[in-house]
């Protein structure tokens, strides 16, 4: 079983402050950590490996200092670490990030791809599912339990507002995970010693055969204009009926709202 875990290095938000003028995070002097949800993804990867055998690779896209996140993952027991780093990735939005990660995963090969539910800084929860779309494979988000995994097949519980869905998927599959899934293990001493010495594999845009035009600022369809916490306003309407009726009503609503 080939398992790839996507991890993002994020500022430790326990310490992070917001610049009130620009509404952006003040990252100076704030320690970086592995996105907490991704710790659960790493643990899940290790547990799958313990069950099925195989190899766990952690993958991150980021600047050279993201290497620290990879070393931490090695100290927990993952086999391999890959840093996807290239000047041309700078300024990527979630679409461009997911494109680059998906090309890297294609390059590495994977049966199970694990992501956190969301990153605690960007918070979009888009990257995981977008990677799956680029790879044209199924994805299941918000996994709270892996019931069974074997060659070609996986059964998981997906967390819902009330209860959970029991889902089965073919492999390869991409899963995004929530905290309830497991308790991430502590690093081990042998792992820490290995992490100190481990060679981190570096991949560039050229290595993964990514198209320049889809990368970085240029490849990003979205631009950040302002970051703010939206007003909690819950206008909602529940549409009932047969599928056809619902679709018709929905199209009418959305057209009325000038969304279509």
């Amino acid at each position: 079983m080939k398992i790839v875990v996507c991890v993002k290095q994020v500022p430790d938000t326990a310490e992070v402050r917001i610049n009130p003028e620009t509404n952006t995070l003040i990252r100076d002097g704030v320690e970086s950590i592995i996105n907490p949800y991704d710790m659960h993804a790493i643990e899940a990867g290790l547990q799958i490996r313990e069950k099925t055998g195989g190899k766990v690779t952690v993958l991150t896209m980021g600047p050279p200092q993201a290497e620290n996140a990879l070393r931490e993952a090695i100290s927990m027991g993952v086999d391999d670490a890959v840093l996807l780093t290239d000047r041309s990735f700078a300024g990527s939005d979630t679409w461009a990030t997911a494109y680059a990660l998906s090309k890297a995963i294609e390059h590495l090969g994977a049966d199970v791809i694990l992501c956190g539910k969301q990153a605690i800084d960007g918070d979009t929860a888009q990257v995981g599912p977008e990677i799956a779309e680029f790879l044209d494979i199924p994805h299941i988000a918000y996994i709270r339990k892996i019931e069974d995994v074997k060659e070609g097949r996986i059964v998981v519980q997906r967390l819902m507002d009330e209860g959970y869905d029991l889902m089965e998927s073919s492999l390869p599959v991409l899963l995004t995970v929530v905290r309830e899934l497991n308790v991430p293990r502590m690093p081990s001493l042998k792992g820490k010693m290995a992490a100190k010495k481990a060679g981190i594999k570096k991949l560039t845009a050229a290595d993964i055969g990514a198209e320049e035009s889809k990368l970085g600022l240029r490849g990003s369809p979205t631009q950040v204009r302002n970051i703010f916490a939206p007003e909690a306003k819950r206008d909602r309407k529940i549409i009932d009926g047969t599928n056809e009726e619902i679709i018709d009503a929905l199209v009418k609503e959305l057209t009325g709202l000038k969304c279509l």
């Binding site: 690093p187 081990s188 001493l189 792992g191 100190k196």
Partner: protein, 386 residues
Amino acid sequence: MDYLLTEEQIMIRDLARQIAEEKIVPVRAELDETGTFPHDIMKTLAQSDLFGLFIPEEYGGLGKGCLELAIAVEELSRACLGVSTTYAANALGTYPLLLFGSDEQKKRYLPDIAAGKKLVAFGLTEANAGSDAGGIQTTARLEGNEYVINGTKQWITNGGEAGIYTIIGITDRSKGPRGASAFVVEKGTPGFSFGKKENKMGIRASATTELIFDNCRVPKENIIGKEGMGFVVAMKTLDNSRTGVGSQGVGVAQGAFEEAVKFARQRVQFGHPVITFQAVQHMLADMGTSIEAARALVYAVSRFIDAGAKDVSKESAMAKVFATDVAMRVTTDAVQVMGGSGYMKEYPVEKMMRDAKILQIYEGTNQIQRNVIGQALIKEAAKANK
């Protein structure tokens, strides 16, 4: 203070501290209150390779020495002595095998110990043999290819929880102290059972029980070293492990000291934080100074042992007696600095004070340590005057 630790030693310290803060501190009060054995924490320590610290690499360990063990024990003790006693007694029980075990025995037992799959306990003390280990009554009689063990060991740490027991029994009473031998006995051996768990003043997360041997038969090969070497095995074992008790003292004192400083800065009386009163400052100054002195001694003796020193009885006794007396005084003073709050279970220092007391008692009381030091001084003086 900087003790010029190696990068690896710092790694060990940081990992033990991380486990202590994330896994032990949040549950220590409950473990203490309910007297619950810390199975989950032992699992974490095993996963983190900490049980393999002092086991040679050829048996799956990390091949480190007394100093590395002292560093790990100190960090665990800073959080909870009950947990660190469980961990340190495991090392105590392993030393007979490490120091005197045959290749066969090492191959059979050390890998499981290094992986934390099996805990170890050391059984010397009996109802009538505490400080006077020579008074043990447990016997081991050779019958064909087996030793038949009879007797009861008392107050054995990790009793019932450990899978492996190293014990001392009499093989030939006519030979006096040279008539004792060490054995390894596995849990589950017919005729080997456990008495009730003791209800203790402190280190309540650790398990302390009787070991009951009733015609318990073990293969002849389970003897550690040779017949008659029992007390040599026990004394060398204690020489090596005493620095570990010293580091328990350093750790619990450090934990209590930090609590006291934090509290004294926050608690306001007469319009000022109590730390601004000189009487309080002087107590804290003495606490901090004695902890640093204890740590320096424990590290120095550990390095001395790791360098291959032959006779370390005096030095390891000094490290144990000094650091554990410091622990008792510092934890008591931490309660004093914190006043009534220190006496309450809302704060951890009352537990630390209760816990610290054991350090002056087990692995040889501090009176016995002073006897050991005194005897060494006499021997040294006699040698110098020859």
